[in-house]
Symmetry: C2
Subunit: 229 residues, 2 copies
């Protein structure tokens, strides 16, 4: 089975891959062996053909007439997402978000190993959060030189974030997950994900509003029908 | 100008709306008056036609030959996202994530007003976080009965989340933003957004891996070319 990354996976398709992965991991833990695309579709609120289309884009994982093997499919999607191998991670900024992420149990479950936390507050340096040592931010480059690291999670105030990119890139970091309130840019060899928590909240109010509008239209239609002789 | 919600806005399009909104808010603050779809496209790493297509789905906001008025466009997209009016919000669970969200400056900027925090820890009850009072979780229903609230943000441990849905729905909550490590379901009148922080991290490793594969292919191609006589 070859898992090719398609030339141009749609954004929406790629966003579904982690959800497939979680769903399959849960099903595997529950003891499921085989699964039809129909079953998977029902569990994920998608259509049967959407799922087959998504998987075909990666070379297809199905066996004619037998559906999917849950463990194999989980592993294949894990390969695509590249989470079947561990990633070493550091967190920069031990404020509330940094602490929350340091203690987030979902990360170690997906192979993300938190190796160090960095902060500029002398009261925090030397202490441990979630069993992980807090280093002085001034030692970041020295740390990266001797401890190759895949991903840096930036949880500093917005105005401190961009200045971190140069030492992180120079230190061999390949991905930055940025929770600071200001977007950052990085050299081409570093992948950046700027997280916008408000976007998710705006999507929620959009859907709340959409539901309200639909309800209003519905009642308008039914009162219109009722008013007819 | 009518801002209709299209019958079936694509998921990807809807995900772009908050990004448009943020971009336009920034441009408005910088004093921009008019903007071409080309300028907006360049700033957002999208294509010109993608932007026109997105906006046309909502009835179009452009004036022939003059591009977009930044303030009007921001307002129109704000109407679609329903963030031009304030939303009252409560947070349930004052652990690290709950505290981090309580202090997140992006929320008040978008009209999300944190009115109360709930927790079961007697040491926290009565205290204030970010100027907002922490109430005992046992008083949740009483609070909602006298303080109509739009959105509840659940930041409890995973196994406590689902049990909150019934009192929240009965109390008139219309949207739940769930950060607990377990997905919840809610009655049809309540919109739920289950947040999966690991999904975002998996998308990052996917893109890191994709870049790696592309680089490998590139070096393979060039060495192949070089080996030719």
């Amino acid at each position: 089975m070859t898992n090719k990354v398609p030339d141009r996976a749609s954004d929406a398709m790629m966003r579904r891959m982690p959800a497939y992965y979680r769903q399959l991991r849960d099903l595997e833990a529950l003891g499921f062996i085989d699964l039809s695309s129909k079953d998977l579709a029902r569990r994920m609120n998608l259509t049967d053909s959407q799922i087959r289309h998504d998987f075909n884009a990666f070379g297809g994982f199905g066996r004619r007439g037998r559906g999917y093997n849950v463990a194999l499919l989980r592993r294949s999607i894990g390969d695509i997402l590249d989470i079947n191998r561990p990633h070493d991670v550091i967190i920069i900024g031990a404020g509330n978000i940094g602490r929350a992420l340091a203690q987030y149990k979902g990360f170690p479950d997906s192979g993300f190993r938190l190796k160090a936390i960095f902060d500029s507050d002398p009261e925090l340096v030397g202490k441990k959060i979630s069993g992980v040592k807090v280093f002085n931010i001034s030692s970041l480059s020295k740390y990266l030189a001797k401890s190759p690291t895949d991903i840096a999670i930036i949880c500093t105030p917005g105005d401190k974030a961009q200045a971190l990119v140069e030492p992180l890139a120079a230190g061999g970091i390949k991905g930055i997950w940025n929770f600071a309130a200001m977007d950052i840019t990085a050299p081409p060899q570093v992948v950046v994900s700027n997280v916008h928590l408000t976007d998710s909240l705006m999507m929620l109010t959009f859907r709340m509003h959409e539901k309200e509008v639909l309800e209003e239209n519905k009642s308008w239609v039914s009162s219109d029908v009722e008013s007819k002789p």
